[in-house]
C-alpha cells in the first residue's frame, strides 16, 4: 500500500543519540511500519483526503533560516525552532524558580526522569499513525516543566517554523505542569512553501494546576499540517485550549483530552478558516474517566471557495463518571456554494447521572443581518466580513494572550473585508 505513496519517510535505523529517545523511537517505528498511512477505509480518516501528504516526496527539512519576528509576542518567553533545529532559546535566568523551558534534545540528557515518565506516554501511537511517525522521526522540540506551585505570569511562546519546498518537520512539545502550577503557552506552527508539519504535543496538567494553551497553525496555500494534542487533566486542574488554523491545503488536528481526576475541567475552542481547495479537519475526543468533571467544546469553521471543513467531536463518559457536565457546540459558516462542511458530533455515555449536550449548525450568513448593515451604507463584502468576524469572535475572545488575539483579528480582517478598519 505504502509503495504507491510519494512520501516515503526514511525509517531506517535509529536517529536518536539518547537511549530513551532511541528505544521509544524504534518502538514507534515498528508501529508505523505496521499501521502505514491511514486510508479512507478507516472511519477516522474517511473524510480526510491525504493526497497533499502522501502525494509529495517530502524529505526531512535541512538546516535553514527564516524570519520569525512576525510571531514573537511582547513580554513572552520565546523558544524558536526552524526546520526542527533550535535557533533561539529561552533566557533561562529571568525565569522564576521551578520553571524549565528547554530543547527536548538537551533535556533527554539532563531531565531523563521527566522524559521517561511522560514522553510518548500521553500521545498514544498505537492507533494514531502520524503520532507514531512523529515519535519515530522527531529529533527536536520543546520541554516545559513547571514544578509544584510554579507560576509564570508571562506567556511562553514556542515557534516552530518550517521553510522550504517538499520538506517535512516533526516538532514535539512536552508540557508538564505539576500540582498548583500555572502557565500560559502559545504554540505557533508556521509553514511556507509546499511543506508538511507533523507535530505532536503532550500535556500533563497536575492536580489543581492551570494550563492555558493557544495553538496556532499558519500555512501557505500549499502547506500541510497533521498534528495531535494529547492532554491529561488531574484533580481540580484546568486545561484550556484555544486553537486557530489559517489556510493550508490540509490542516488536521487530533485532540485527545482525558479528565483523570475529580473536578477536572477542559475547555476547548477552535477556529478553522479554509479557502481554496483546502481541508480543515479537527477530531476531538474528550474522555470523562472519573466523576464530577466538566468539559466545554466550541468549534467554529469558516469556509470559502471549494474548501472542506470536518469537525468530529466525541465525548466519552466512562461507566462511573457520574455528575459529568459536558457540552459541545460546532458551527460552520459556508461562504461559497462549493464548500463542504461535515459536522459529526458524537456522544458515548456509559453513566446515568450526567448532562451532555451537543449542538451543531451549518449555514450561511443571515440575510437580514446583511441587509441591516447594507441599509447603513456598508458594502456587501465589508458587511460579510464584519458578520464573519462576529461569527469567529466567540472563539477569538477566548484566546488568553492579547497580542495573539489582536494579531489574529487583524489577519482575519485583512482576509475577509478590505474595508474594515479597527
Amino acid at each position: 500500500m505504502r509503495s504507491t505513496h510519494l512520501f516515503q519517510p526514511d525509517l531506517a535505523g535509529s536517529i536518536h543519540a539518547s537511549p530513551i529517545l532511541a528505544s521509544l523511537g524504534s518502538e514507534a517505528r515498528e508501529r508505523f511500519n505496521e499501521l502505514g498511512f491511514p486510508s479512507r477505509r478507516d472511519e477516522d480518516w474517511r473524510l480526510t483526503a491525504l493526497t497533499p501528504v502522501t502525494g509529495h516526496p517530502f524529505s526531512r527539512a535541512p538546516e535553514a533560516t527564516t524570519a520569525t519576528e512576525h510571531w514573537t509576542l511582547p513580554d513572552a518567553v520565546t523558544i524558536t525552532f526552524v526546520n526542527d533545529r533550535l535557533v533561539g532559546g529561552a533566557a533561562e535566568n529571568d525565569l522564576p524558580a521551578g520553571i524549565t523551558i528547554t530543547a527536548l534534545s538537551s533535556a533527554a540528557q539532563s531531565q531523563t526522569q521527566l522524559i521517561e515518565e511522560h514522553l510518548g506516554r500521553l500521545a498514544s501511537f498505537d492507533d494514531q499513525p502520524f503520532v507514531a511517525l512523529n515519535t519515530a522521526q522527531s529529533l527536536e522540540g520543546a520541554l516545559i516543566h513547571l514544578a509544584p506551585g510554579a507560576i509564570l505570569d508571562r506567556p511562553i511562546n514556542i515557534i516552530y517554523a518550517t521553510t522550504g519546498d517538499d520538506v517535512v518537520t516533526y516538532p514535539r512539545t512536552l508540557i508538564v505542569a505539576e500540582e498548583n502550577a500555572k502557565a500560559t503557552v502559545v504554540e505557533t506552527f508556521v509553514g511556507d512553501g509546499r511543506s508538511l508539519i507533523c507535530p505532536v504535543t503532550e500535556i500533563a496538567v497536575g492536580p489543581s494546576a492551570t494550563l492555558q494553551h493557544t495553538r496556532l497553525i499558519e500555512l501557505s496555500a500549499e502547506g500541510s499540517c497533521i498534528g495531535s494534542v494529547s492532554a491529561t487533566v488531574e484533580r481540580n486542574a484546568a486545561y484550556r485550549l484555544s486553537s486557530a488554523g489559517l489556510g493550508g491545503s490540509l490542516a488536521r488536528t487530533d485532540i485527545r483530552v482525558g479528565l483523570n481526576g475529580k473536578g477536572a475541567d477542559a475547555t476547548l475552542d477552535g477556529l478553522t478558516l479554509v479557502g481554496g481547495k483546502g481541508q480543515g479537519i479537527t477530531h476531538v475526543v474528550v474522555e470523562h474517566r472519573v466523576p464530577n468533571c466538566t468539559s466545554t467544546q466550541r468549534y467554529r469553521s469558516v469556509l470559502d471557495d471549494r474548501s472542506k471543513a470536518v469537525f468530529t467531536g466525541c465525548i466519552i463518559v466512562a461507566e462511573d463518571a457520574q455528575k459529568t457536565d459536558a457540552r459541545q457546540s460546532s458551527r460552520s459558516l459556508l461562504r461559497s456554494s462549493d464548500a463542504v462542511a461535515h459536522n459529526n458530533p458524537q456522544l458515548e455515555i456509559y453513566a446515568d447521572d450526567v448532562r451532555c449536550t451537543h449542538g451543531s449548525t451549518v449555514g450561511q450568513l443571515d440575510e437580514e443581518a446583511l441587509f441591516y448593515l447594507r441599509a447603513r451604507g456598508i458594502d456587501r463584502l465589508t458587511a460579510e466580513g464584519l458578520l464573519t468576524l462576529a461569527f469567529a469572535a466567540e472563539v477569538l475572545e477566548g484566546i488568553p494572550v492579547e497580542a495573539v488575539k489582536s494579531r489574529l483579528e487583524d489577519q482575519l480582517m485583512a482576509q475577509l473585508g478590505p474595508e474594515i478598519t479597527r
Binding site: S332, L334, A341, Q346, I349, A351, V354, T357, V362
Partner: protein, 533 residues
C-alpha cells in the same frame, strides 16, 4: 383473564389524534366500525362482522377472542415446510421456484446473491454479537400449524399481552384495519381487500403481487434499495420470502390505515420480508407495521427491506411498533437480530414520514431513510428506541436532500435501562443542488440505571451554503426530584418512571396512529419493568 383494566371504557373520537393521558390512557368505545377512518382506533375490537361492541364487556376473555378468530377460519392446517439450513444458488432458485416466480425475478435474486457473496458484514455499528453463521439458517419456511389453544403459548408472553391489555387476537385483526398477517414467510390472510379494490388500491402479499401485478413489481423493486445496497439488503434481495405490496393509484386517498403484523413463529428461520409501497401522484396512505415474536432460545435473524416510493405530491406515513423478543434479561440470549433497511424516495412536493417505536429485539440495526429527490419534498423521522436488559440498538435515519426547498425533521428519543446500549446514528446530507434545504434534528437520550449506555453519532454533510441544518442532542437521567414529586402524590416509583418516560417520548407518540400510540405507551411501561430501583 381480563383484557384490560376492569371496566375500561373505550370511546372513539373521529380524530386519530386524541389527546392522550400519559399513563394508563383510558379509551372508550361508543360505536365502532361505521366510519372507516375512525374504526381503526381500537385495541382488540374487531368489527369485521358487524357492530358488536366487544370492548365494553370487561369480562371478555382472551380465550374468547382467540376462539372467535378461529371461527373465522384463520387457522390453516398447512404443515411447516422448511428448507434445510444453508445458502447457495440452488437454494435461491428453489425459493424462487417455490413461489412460482418469473424468470427475471429469479435472475434478480441470483444477481443479488452473487453480489452478497462479495460483500463483508458491516462492523461499524456499535453492537456486539456472536458471528452469524449464514449457512446454519434455513431460508424458507411456509406457515406452520397454528397453535390449538392459548395454553400452548408461552405463559410469559401471555402475561406480557395481559399487561399490555391486548388480546392475542389483536395481533391478527385490528379493528377496521385490513390486516395482511405474515406468519413466518407466507401471507395467509388478507382482509378488506375488496373494499380497497373498489378504489383501485392494491394491498396484497408480495408473492401475490409478483403474480398479479408483475409490471409494478418489475418497475419499482430495487428502485429505492438496490440489490447492491448493503450486506443485509443484498441478502434479503436474494432470499426474500414474502412481505406486503401496496399500490395507491393517482389521486386516491387510502380510506383506512393499512396494517401488517409480522410474526416470527418458526425457530431457526430467518425472516426476510420485502415490502414495497408505491403511492402514485397525489395519493395518500398510512401504513402500520407491528411485530411480536414468541420466546425462542436461538437468535433469529431478521433482515427486512422496505421500499417506499412517493411520486409527486404523494404522502406516505409509515409507522412501526417493534416488540420482538429481546432475549433473556440477564444473559441476552435468544433475542431477535433485527437488521433492517428501510428507505423512501420522495417526488416533487411529496412527503414521507417514518415513525418507529423500537422496544424489542436483542439487536436493532435500522436506519429508515428518505431521499428527498423532488423539489419541496418533506422527510420526517420520529423514533423512540428503548433498550433494557442486554438489548443493543444502533438506529437513526438518513435524510438526503437532493431537491430544492426540501425539508426534514428528525426527532429521536433513546432510552437506556438495565445493561442496554442505545446509539443514535444519523446522516443529514445536503447536496449541491439542494438550495434552501432545511433540517432540524433533535436526539435526546435518557439513562435509567448506571450500567447502560447512550450514544449519539450524527453525521452532517452540507454542500450548499443556503442550507440550514441544526442538530441538538441531550443526555439526561430522570431527576430524583421528579420521582419524589410523583411519589409524594401516591404514585409508585415504577409508575412514575413510566409516566416520565412517556412524557419524554410524547413528541414521537403523537405522530403515531391512535391505537399504536396507546400500545406503544404500555409497551414502554412493560419493557421498563424491573429496570427501576
Amino acid at each position: 383473564m381480563q383484557i384490560g383494566p376492569p371496566g375500561r371504557q373505550v370511546a372513539l373520537s373521529p380524530s386519530p389524534q386524541l389527546p392522550l393521558s400519559l399513563l394508563n390512557a383510558e379509551i372508550s368505545i361508543q360505536e365502532p366500525g361505521n366510519d372507516p377512518t375512525s374504526s381503526l382506533v381500537l385495541l382488540g375490537a374487531r368489527p369485521l362482522s358487524g357492530n358488536e361492541v366487544h370492548m365494553t364487556d370487561s369480562t371478555t376473555t382472551l380465550e374468547e377472542f382467540a376462539n372467535r378468530e378461529y371461527e373465522h377460519g384463520f387457522v390453516t392446517d398447512v404443515e411447516q415446510e422448511t428448507f434445510p439450513p444453508g445458502l447457495n444458488e440452488d437454494v435461491v432458485r428453489a425459493i424462487s421456484a417455490k413461489k412460482n416466480e418469473p424468470d427475471w425475478l429469479t435472475q434478480w435474486r441470483l444477481k443479488a446473491f452473487r453480489h452478497w457473496q462479495t460483500m463483508e458484514e458491516p462492523s461499524w455499528p456499535k453492537v456486539h454479537y456472536e458471528p452469524i453463521d449464514y449457512q446454519a439458517i434455513s431460508y424458507f419456511a411456509a406457515p406452520k400449524k397454528l397453535l390449538d389453544s392459548l395454553d400452548e403459548v408461552d405463559p410469559e408472553i401471555l402475561t406480557t399481552y395481559k399487561k399490555l391489555g391486548i388480546p392475542l387476537d389483536e395481533q391478527k385483526a385490528l379493528a377496521g384495519v385490513a390486516v395482511d398477517a405474515v406468519f413466518d414467510s407466507v401471507s395467509v390472510a388478507t382482509t378488506y381487500k375488496d373494499k380497497l379494490a373498489e378504489k383501485g388500491i392494491i394491498f396484497c402479499s408480495f408473492s401475490e403481487a409478483v403474480q398479479d401485478h408483475p409490471e409494478l413489481i418489475k418497475k419499482h423493486l430495487g428502485s429505492v434499495v438496490p440489490h447492491t445496497d448493503n450486506f443485509f439488503a443484498a441478502l434479503n434481495s436474494a432470499v426474500f420470502s414474502d412481505g406486503s405490496f401496496v399500490y395507491i393509484p393517482k389521486g386516491v386517498r387510502c380510506p383506512m390505515e393499512l396494517s401488517t403484523y409480522f410474526r416470527i413463529n418458526a425457530s431457526n428461520t430467518g425472516q426476510f420480508e420485502r415490502t414495497l409501497i408505491v403511492a402514485d401522484e397525489d395519493a395518500q396512505v398510512s401504513y402500520l407495521e407491528g411485530c411480536t415474536a414468541p420466546q425462542r432460545d436461538e437468535n433469529q435473524l431478521h433482515a427486512a427491506v422496505v421500499e417506499l416510493v412517493a411520486l409527486d405530491r404523494a404522502n406516505i406515513k409509515y409507522s412501526t411498533v417493534q416488540n420482538w423478543y429481546p432475549g433473556d434479561k440477564e444473559t441476552g440470549k435468544g433475542g431477535i437480530f433485527n437488521f433492517v433497511t428501510k428507505r423512501g424516495v420522495c417526488g416533487e412536493k411529496s412527503k414521507i414520514s417514518w415513525t418507529q417505536v423500537e422496544t424489542g429485539s436483542a439487536i436493532t440495526w435500522k436506519y429508515p431513510s428518505v431521499i428527498l429527490k423532488g423539489d419541496k419534498s418533506i422527510g420526517e423521522f420520529y423514533s423512540v428506541a428503548l433498550t433494557a436488559g442486554r438489548q443493543q440498538a444502533d438506529t437513526g435515519t438518513k435524510m438526503v436532500h437532493l431537491g430544492k426547498d426540501t425539508s426534514s425533521t428528525i426527532i429521536s428519543k433513546g432510552i437506556s435501562a438495565g445493561k442496554g446500549q442505545n446509539s443514535y446514528r444519523g446522516l443529514v446530507k445536503v447536496t449541491k443542488s439542494a438550495d434552501n434545504a432545511r433540517n432540524f434534528s433533535q436526539c435526546d437520550s435518557m439513562l435509567i440505571g448506571s450500567q447502560c449506555g447512550a450514544h449519539t453519532f450524527p453525521y452532517i454533510e452540507v454542500r450548499n451554503p443556503t442550507a440550514q441544518v441544526e442538530h441538538e442532542a441531550t443526555t439526561s437521567k430522570i431527576g430524583e426530584d421528579q420521582i419524589f414529586y410523583c411519589n409524594q402524590r401516591g404514585l409508585s416509583t415504577e409508575d412514575a418512571v413510566t409516566m416520565i418516560v412517556n412524557g419524554f417520548c410524547k413528541e414521537v407518540f403523537k405522530e403515531l396512529p391512535m391505537e399504536f400510540a396507546v400500545e406503544a405507551q404500555k409497551l414502554l411501561g412493560v419493557s421498563l419493568e424491573g429496570s427501576v430501583g
